[in-house]
Symmetry: C2
Subunit: 225 residues, 2 copies
């Protein structure tokens, strides 16, 4: 019954496939070949076929892939066919911004609670959800069957809160605090280290300028992953 450990590199590309398939679907396009898709997405057809085949044969020879079907399959693979219940810990600017961003809800990520240690903000309503004091977090997570905690608190308190969350059986943590969280391995942590991201950009700025000055080549179309 041992699944053969799928690489995070592949997983990381699935949301992007989903996005482009969604766009094709919206345009009313019903079928697409790996070649066409790779042209649009600026990648190789081989990689698309290889990636998809990690999970099963979704295509048909001589035809390609059915856009709607493939879209649904990737949704299922990513676990977007079920609802997730989230809490936000840290009702600062970032926490509030995330609660207010409705696209997450549309994908089945439902914010059920917001917690903050500042009594001044507790009781306030954000996007229809009341901010509660930290002391109530434990009980709330247990009683409301919360899957994911979003950590938008300073690094100083993040480790402590993560431990508390681990104890009350959280399954995943979406971590915006600038620390690595030492939690048991059965808890999944996805880090969003914004300053790391900005530093990478800073490096690439410097290095591209140095290279440009030395006569590096430049072409016409941006790409990313």
């Amino acid at each position: 019954m041992e699944e053969k450990e799928i690489s995070q590199a592949v997983i990381g590309r699935l949301p992007r496939y989903l996005r482009y398939l969604g766009e094709l679907k919206d345009e009313g396009i019903e079928r697409v070949s790996s070649q066409e898709l790779s042209d649009i997405m600026q990648t190789t057809a081989s990689q698309i076929r290889q990636d998809l085949n990690t999970f099963g044969g979704f295509g048909q020879q001589g035809y390609g892939y059915n856009v709607g079907y493939l879209y649904d399959e990737i949704r299922k693979i990513l676990g977007l066919d079920r609802e997730h219940r989230l809490i936000i810990v840290g009702a600062g600017h970032l926490g509030q911004a995330l609660v207010n961003y409705t696209n997450f809800e549309r994908r089945g990520f439902l914010f059920r609670g917001i917690f903050d240690c500042d009594p001044g903000i507790c009781g306030k309503m954000i996007h229809g959800i009341e901010v509660r004091p930290m002391e109530e977090m434990d009980g709330f997570v247990r009683e409301n069957d919360i899957d994911i905690a979003v950590l938008t608190i300073p690094k100083t308190s993040a480790v402590e809160v993560a431990k508390k969350l681990a104890d009350c059986g959280i399954k995943g943590i979406w971590n915006f605090a600038h620390v690595d969280l030492p939690v048991p391995k059965q808890i999944q942590v996805e880090n969003v280290h914004l300053s790391d991201s900005l530093m990478k950009l800073s490096y690439n700025l410097s290095s591209s300028q140095a290279e440009g000055a030395a006569g590096g080549k430049v072409d016409g179309n941006g790409q990313n992953r």
Copy 2:
């Protein structure tokens, strides 16, 4: 004069090294070996030495690395020894959250302007900066020597704005919009696709549960990159 193209995998680890070195520095620790650092950071000593040697020999045999010196060198490599001038495009919740996050300033990333297409919000002050109408963006970027534009606008307008930014000579874009930006290659784009990140977490939740049910092994310490 051709530098040998440093991999993004290495670049992506530098901010994390910087973070741990900063902590050591704050604790007053002056020297560290790759072995000690790898123990703390949960990686291999070999990788640390390999990564650092990409940029030069910062250590000394029989001694290790001088924490302060290495910290400064990595700062320089990442381009954090100079100031960057930023604008935010999109004064929504996320844009405001980023402006209010003072740690970026501390690192030399200075927000100089905020732009929004909604006349209702223009003129409002956020963290001491006035929100300006989109029409003024071009001129502002040119006159104030702006390096980086932060895109916190909906995907629908992101491509158009990115093109405009490219035309007025922006060097880098920190893109929070959920699209791939087709800009010339000399412009560096760093994407922060939050929903992609959340989907990855969702996948890992499902897969770890499946694996756990099948008797997967679990150990005691979380890790990430």
